[in-house]
């Protein structure tokens, strides 16, 4: 009998592929945002509002994750933006492999910005790096002011938190101040945007901020020009991962 030290991240199987995705996105000069939330918080509505305000200036694409149906991809396609639906069946989150596989049939090399809409779930998606540049959480204000404390992980891991449906606050009896304070305490570095996709309130502030993030990335890409495409690495890592499974 012997003891073998491993000292390895147990999410390595996902993180290695996420690193590969990230490298590929960088080479393509692509800015990638992973949108996360509980079901029904308004991720797709936020995307619709965001796409309408960005699509004249940027080439956009969307990867949608859901358990079932292509309803969300259809909503995005209706705006004239390419969309790819991943249906996970019973899996409660997207992982790097699903995104990687989607890239085989959904070309992103001529895009500026890729939005990934994760499966609606307040817990699971946060553990799976997809290779994104930034995580944005959508939270519906009517879910209550205390949830950031009950489910702190996703708030903590998001660069921005969009507090959607502020128009419903008077009917829900939720304190926006208390909600914002709780988000801030759980995640001091996160930028918070109260907004409503229904009335358009607060959307402009979010868009100005998002455009600044995209511009920062494009400036970085200009300073460090993209390396030549190496499409073979895609194939290589793919085989590598299958070996793990066997």
């Amino acid at each position: 009998m012997c003891q073998v030290k491993v000292e390895t991240n147990i999410l390595e199987f996902n993180d290695d592929l996420a690193t590969h995705n990230r490298q590929y996105f960088r080479e393509q000069g692509l800015f990638v945002v992973n949108f996360m939330s509980a079901p029904g918080a308004g991720k797709t509505s936020v995307l619709e509002q965001t796409i309408q305000r960005l699509k004249t200036d940027y080439r956009l694409g969307v990867i949608e994750g859901d358990l079932m149906t292509t309803i969300d991809a259809d909503r995005i396609s209706a705006l004239g933006v390419p969309a790819h639906q991943i249906t996970t069946g019973t899996i409660c989150h997207l992982d790097a492999r699903m995104v990687h596989n989607a890239l085989h049939s959904f070309p992103v090399n001529d895009l500026d910005v890729l939005f990934i809409e994760n499966v609606g779930n307040l817990v699971c998606p946060v553990e799976f790096d997809l290779g994104e540049d930034m995580r944005v959480m959508v939270y519906s204000t009517v879910e209550g002011a205390e949830k950031p404390k009950k489910y702190p992980m996703m708030f903590h891991e998001s660069t921005a938190v969009l507090l959607n449906k502020v128009d419903l606050i008077p009917y829900a009896g939720v304190s926006l101040d208390e909600l914002q304070r709780n988000v801030r305490e759980v995640s001091p570095a996160t930028t918070i945007f109260p907004l409503s996709c229904r009335t358009g309130e607060g959307i402009d502030e979010w868009i100005v901020w998002l455009k600044a993030q995209i511009k920062t990335r494009q400036r970085e890409a200009h300073r460090f020009p993209r390396t030549p495409l190496h499409t073979h690495s895609h194939h290589h890592v793919h085989q590598h991962v299958h070996q793990h499974v066997n």
């Binding site: 009998m1 012997c2 003891q3 073998v4 030290k5 491993v6 000292e7 390895t8 991240n9 147990i10 999410l11 390595e12 199987f13 996902n14 899996i91 409660c92 989150h93 992982d95 817990v123 699971c124 946060v126 553990e127 799976f128 950031p148 404390k149 702190p152 992980m153 996703m154 903590h156 305490e185 759980v186 995640s187 001091p188 570095a189 793990h244 499974v245």
Partner: protein
């Protein structure tokens, strides 16, 4: 139930380790799991019991050490074991606190036959 996917990752890592070290049966797998991660220990243990069947880890025991969330204030040096109510602001000076433990997700070692 993303713990099933994580249990599968643990299993694959343990089996790979065994194969790199002579391919013996796996008796024990030791994990360090930070409490500030979205992983439920019981769900992970249950999932592992299912995925290990018929593998080199068939008889393996999964030992999970939970690592407490600990934060430190870089500004005033005040350290507390765990932030109260997940408030990541320093109660003394009001600066944001930094996490120094509680985010672990590590396979520490495996015992092989």
């Amino acid at each position: 139930m993303h713990e099933a996917a994580i249990a599968q990752g643990v299993l694959e890592l343990a089996i790979r380790t065994s194969l790199q070290n002579g391919g013996g049966r796996i008796n024990r797998i030791k994990l360090r799991l930070g409490e500030f991660r979205g992983v439920v220990r019981e769900a992970l243990e249950f999932s592992f019991e299912v995925v290990k069947r018929g593998t080199l880890a068939d008889q393996a025991e999964l030992e999970v050490e939970t690592v407490k969330l600990r934060v430190v204030c870089a500004q005033c040096g005040e350290c507390e074991c765990s932030p109260r109510d997940y408030n990541f602001f320093c109660p003394t000076c009001g600066d944001p606190l930094q996490i120094i433990a509680g985010r672990e997700m590590q396979l520490e070692y495996v015992d092989l036959e």
